[in-house]
């Protein structure tokens, strides 16, 4: 006992004054708060800098997953909640109480354009009175109002609101059915997943219903929905439903669908347009898809597939050390349209070997590929191209771009010529833009003026 007293002897002063005790309490509280805040900041920083789910960059993966990751997840959850609340605000903050909102919702003297907006709040709150009011209005509302409310109810993501949407799947008006499907898929759940899967698999259903079901399964994005999509994909040939299935599968994280896409693309019976659609859908996938797309851009026999793969890469933005690889592909590629897409994929990359690219681009006969190449070179000139490339750009390419932008040509090509000049930002390019700003084509002149304005 004496030993304990000895250890806590230094606390004896607390008992001396009331003020001292209070100050001690506050101090302890502040210390805990500061520590907590500091730990949250530390957790956010360490997860941002050394993500625990990235084995190549995390410091202590196990410890991070136990300590810092849950904290960041909690903060993230709060941020998302905050954002969602802000988004919901126009629907939820109606200036009425819930009871008043229900009354107005049921009041046929109130304009339906206003009443149907209240469906969101009613479905979100989902009290028995609110649900009853919704059910009642659904009985008499016009199809376009039913469809509008079905979408709105779905966007609440309140599982309790599904009861309102299920009956709408039997609605006589197809746009109501489509809206109900969209609403249900936004809410999600295993029951919705299996219903959408059944509708998708049922070839007797109207095409638009099956397309919406495929889209809904893609929206939900769990392995169960993926499996539904895969099962039907193998039965679909060159159809709009098949295209939408691919589009939906493309939205999954690539590791979840990699095997499916590899098999689908390598199957000899897969029609050409479907292979193109498959590759293009991967533009929406996660960044892990880039090496796969690179393989398709390099090796596929079909130039349309190669071009689509290059385009999909361009939508994934900057990627580690991709500049030289894409340049290699552009040098080897025989199809001008594919080269155009490769140049577009090069645009966001760093480390572009402009000296190698310059002669290739200058040798392009195809105007679209040529201008796409000029865009890459313009970007390279601005970043860190050699003096030789910069000189060539100013002396040879700028006059050509000026001529393209100011003479008869496709609006698309002319616009991209202006983009190329804006990329470079050299004095010669600026002078060309100043000249283009006076061209009579409004879109082109505006784009040039905008380029000049941005550099002021």
């Amino acid at each position: 006992m004496k030993t304990i007293e000895k250890y806590f002897r230094f606390l004896k002063w607390l008992r001396t004054t009331l003020c001292g005790r209070w100050l001690f309490g506050v101090g302890i509280g502040l210390t805990i708060l500061l520590f907590t805040a500091g730990f949250i900041v530390f957790s956010v920083w360490i997860e941002g800098r050394f993500p625990s789910d990235d084995p190549n960059h995390s410091l202590i993966p196990r410890l991070q997953r136990v300590l810092t990751k849950p904290i960041v997840n909690a903060v993230s959850h709060q941020v998302e909640r905050y954002l969602r609340n802000r988004m919901e605000a126009p629907y939820m903050n109606t200036g009425f109480t819930l009871e008043e909102t229900i009354t107005r919702f049921l009041d046929e003297n109130v304009d339906m354009g206003e009443r149907r907006i209240y469906a969101y709040r009613l479905a979100r709150e989902a009290t028995p009175q609110a649900m009853a009011a919704l059910a009642k209005v659904f009985e008499t509302a016009r199809p376009e109002d039913r469809a509008f409310m079905a979408l709105l109810i779905g966007s609440t993501r309140n599982p309790g609101a599904k009861d309102l949407l299920w009956p709408l799947l039997d609605d006589a008006d197809q746009k109501v059915v489509l809206a109900a499907l969209r609403g249900l898929s936004t809410i999600g759940g295993a029951d919705v997943s299996s219903k959408l899967g059944m509708l998708l698999a049922d070839s007797a259903q109207p095409e638009s219903i099956r397309i919406e079901a495929a889209r809904g399964l893609g929206d939900m994005g769990t392995p169960a929905e993926r499996d539904f999509l895969m099962r039907v994909l193998v039965k679909e040939k060159e159809t709009d439903v098949g295209m939408e299935i691919l589009n939906s599968l493309g939205r999954f994280s690539f590791p979840m669908v990699a095997d499916t896409f590899e098999q689908y693309l390598s199957a000899p019976e897969t029609p050409g347009p479907m292979r193109v659609a498959a590759v293009e859908s991967l533009a929406q996938s996660s960044k892990e898809v880039v090496p796969f797309l690179l393989g398709a851009a390099a090796n596929d026999m079909d130039p349309d597939v190669r071009g689509s793969a290059a385009w999909a890469i361009s939508l994934h933005g900057p990627y580690d050390q991709l500049g030289p690889t894409l340049t290699d592909l552009a040098e080897q590629e025989t199809d001008a349209d594919v080269r155009r897409r490769l140049y577009e994929a090069l645009l966001p990359q760093s480390g572009i070997p402009a000296d190698r690219l310059l002669p290739k681009v200058l040798a392009e006969d195809d105007i679209a590929a040529r201008v796409a190449g000029f865009n890459v070179l313009g970007s390279a000139v601005r970043q860190s191209a050699s003096a030789a490339v910069a000189t060539s750009f100013d002396q040879q390419i700028v006059p050509e771009l000026l001529q393209i932008a100011t003479s008869e040509n496709s609006l698309n090509i002319r616009m991209r010529a202006v983009f190329a000049l804006r990329q470079a930002q050299t004095a010669a390019a600026q002078a060309a833009l100043a000249e283009i700003a006076n061209t009579p084509t409004p879109q082109i002149a505006t784009a040039a003026r905008h380029g000049l304005r941005a550099l002021k």
């Binding site: 956010v44 941002g48 960041v72 903060v75 993230s76 941020v79 998302e80 905050y82 954002l83 969602r84 609340n85 802000r86 988004m87 126009p90 966007s155 489509l178 397309i211 919406e212 929206d219 994005g221 939408e244 939205r251 293009e280 533009a283 929406q284 385009w311 361009s314 939508l315 994934h316 933005g317 577009e344 994929a345 645009l347 966001p348 195809d366 105007i367 679209a368 865009n375 601005r382 393209i404 008869e408 040509n409 496709s410 609006l411 698309n412 090509i413 616009m415 991209r416 983009f419 804006r422 990329q423 930002q425 879109q443 505006t446 784009a447 905008h450 380029g451 304005r453 941005a454 550099l455």
Partner: protein
């Protein structure tokens, strides 16, 4: 089918027929036969039908033409209400853009009584419409009168006549054409030949001038000639009704009529029909405030930022952007952001922008990464008097190291400035279907078209052979055309037009579509509809 029917009855109407349409009648002056360098004919002396010159007889009733006795005899064993035989001259046809004449020595020794009637003569009709025709003949009617008669038809209707009573039962008759005035003149000769003394007794214009009929002919069109014998309610025996010394000048190699309807047809997207799928072009400049008000929660974190974007859209609907967002630069401090941003495709009959952005930029100097996708129907909706766009968005990013994301968030935001002006959906298709002839003289139909896209680009589809079926009409597929707006012109593999079941009917002298469907595909989008909704008469 030739128009000569019911002449006995018509003959009696002629006297009172209001002939305001005749631009000149019986000038009653003599003129000498015109001299044509190139002549062809048949004196029938071989008593055998020359099948290189004459085609298959078109017979009604019991009419019969036969080369015998050194002439072309018309006979009719037992008369019916209408008997005739028309023999087409196939060796040559007669041009619209040059002068020509056709003559034959006609003899009519018949003596009709009661409701009987007979004639022998020449018919000329337009090669593109046989209901536009002229006949000249030597007739005999029940009153014992012989007369030179001409009948002029306009799309099957008797449009004008000319008669000259004669005491002669045999005389050369002629139809001639003046290509300068586009007038057909009918004549008879006072001299049996060879020193013809032609007397014109009727003239009929065919180009619509001065109140004349307009047969709708162009310089490349031709006329076809026949000789014929005709009778009503009577038997005609050998030696009673015949022709001899058929002679034509100025005939040319026949251009056969195309085996189907031809013409130029214009189609345009009817922008006021909400049921049809729009193909959207959105090239142009856009500006506004980011984030939009619906995401105002972000405003407190990122601040309100103005943006300006220029969008380019290629032939497959793929979009690229270049623009500025206030306070945002690339990692190498470039304020001009650029790159691919997605594509527009047709989803459920609506053009839908599928946008994806993957950004590795600096916001007010602080590095940040974000990415997002959005599906936005390309349509401007008016909400409370404000132009808006609505769609769904998914996003993920980091604010100060805190990740956040959401999927399929519905949104409705004010349309960026420029949206209404930049959204172009008008397009037109000029379809040209025309007849052609191969080296062997066989005719066929070719179709070509020219498509003007909403962004102003013109795609030219070269002519290709096609066929017309009365039942299922034309099936025309145009793909792989050349974009001639692009300089140098470039083949556009992404643009196609498919027309199916395009049936046509003739109204006046113009073919008009009566049914069909059109599927249009360009800018990575596609739609289809009833062809007639697109037709611009």
């Amino acid at each position: 089918m030739r128009q000569h029917r019911g002449k006995w009855f018509r003959r009696r109407l002629i006297v009172t027929f209001h002939m305001w349409f005749l631009i000149a009648l019986i000038p009653a002056f003599f003129c000498l036969g015109q001299a044509f360098a190139d002549t062809a004919g048949d004196d029938f002396d071989d008593n055998k039908k020359d099948t290189t010159k004459w085609g298959t007889d078109e017979v009604r009733g019991h009419g019969h033409l036969n080369e015998t006795g050194g002439r072309l005899e018309y006979t009719c064993g037992s008369g019916t209400a209408l008997d005739s035989s028309d023999r087409p001259w196939i060796l040559r046809r007669f041009p619209y853009n040059a002068d020509w004449s056709i003559q034959i020595d006609a003899t009519n020794n018949t003596a009709p009584t009661g409701n009987q009637w007979s004639s022998f003569g020449i018919i000329v009709h337009s090669a593109i419409d046989q209901d536009n025709e002229i006949e000249v003949e030597l007739e005999a009617d029940p009153g014992g009168v012989n007369a030179f008669l001409a009948e002029f038809h306009y799309y099957g209707f008797l449009y004008g006549t000319a008669t000259q009573i004669t005491g002669s039962k045999s005389a050369p008759i002629r139809i001639s054409f003046n290509s300068a005035t586009k007038v057909l003149t009918v004549s008879y000769s006072l001299d049996p030949g060879p020193n013809y003394q032609w007397v014109d007794f009727g003239s009929f214009g065919v180009n619509g001038d001065n109140g004349s009929a307009d047969w709708g002919l162009t310089d490349t069109d031709q006329f076809i000639a026949y000789v014929f014998g005709y009778s009503e309610n009577m038997a005609v025996n050998d030696g009673q009704l015949y022709g001899d010394n058929f002679l034509e000048s100025g005939g040319v190699t026949p251009v056969m009529p195309p085996p189907g309807p031809t013409g130029k047809f214009r189609f345009a997207f009817p922008t006021n029909n909400p049921l049809l799928t729009i193909i959207a072009s959105i090239i142009g400049h856009y500006s506004g405030v980011y984030p939009p008000a619906a995401f105002s929660g972000l405003l407190n974190v990122l601040g309100t930022r103005t943006y300006e974007m220029d969008i380019a859209q290629d032939e497959s609907g793929k979009l690229s952007y270049m623009g500025t967002v206030q306070g945002v630069t690339t990692q190498d401090n470039n304020s001009q952001l650029s790159g691919a941003i997605g594509a527009i495709s047709t989803v459920d009959g609506k053009p839908t922008a599928k946008l994806k952005g993957s950004f590795d930029d600096k916001v007010d100097g602080t590095p940040g990464k974000s990415k997002g996708t959005a599906n936005i129907p390309v349509e401007v909706i008016n909400i409370g008097g404000i132009d808006s766009v609505a769609g769904t968005a998914s996003y993920s990013g980091k604010i100060g190291g805190v990740p956040f994301s959401d999927r399929n968030v519905p949104f409705q935001v004010d349309a960026p400035l420029g949206t209404v002006g930049n959204l172009k959906k008008d397009w037109t298709l000029q379809l040209d279907i025309t007849g052609k002839q191969d080296a062997k003289g066989k005719t066929y139909i070719v179709a070509s078209s020219q498509l003007v896209l909403p962004n102003g680009d013109t795609i030219v589809f070269p002519e290709k052979k096609t066929r017309y079926s009365t039942k299922s009409g034309y099936a025309l597929s145009f793909k792989g055309g050349t974009n001639v707006t692009v300089n140098p012109p470039k083949v556009d593999k992404k643009t196609s037009i498919l027309i199916k079941g395009m049936t046509l009917t003739k109204q006046g002298n113009v073919w008009q579509p009566t049914a069909g469907t059109i599927t249009y595909k360009f800018f990575g989008q596609q739609g289809s509809g009833n062809l007639l909704d697109f037709y611009v008469p």
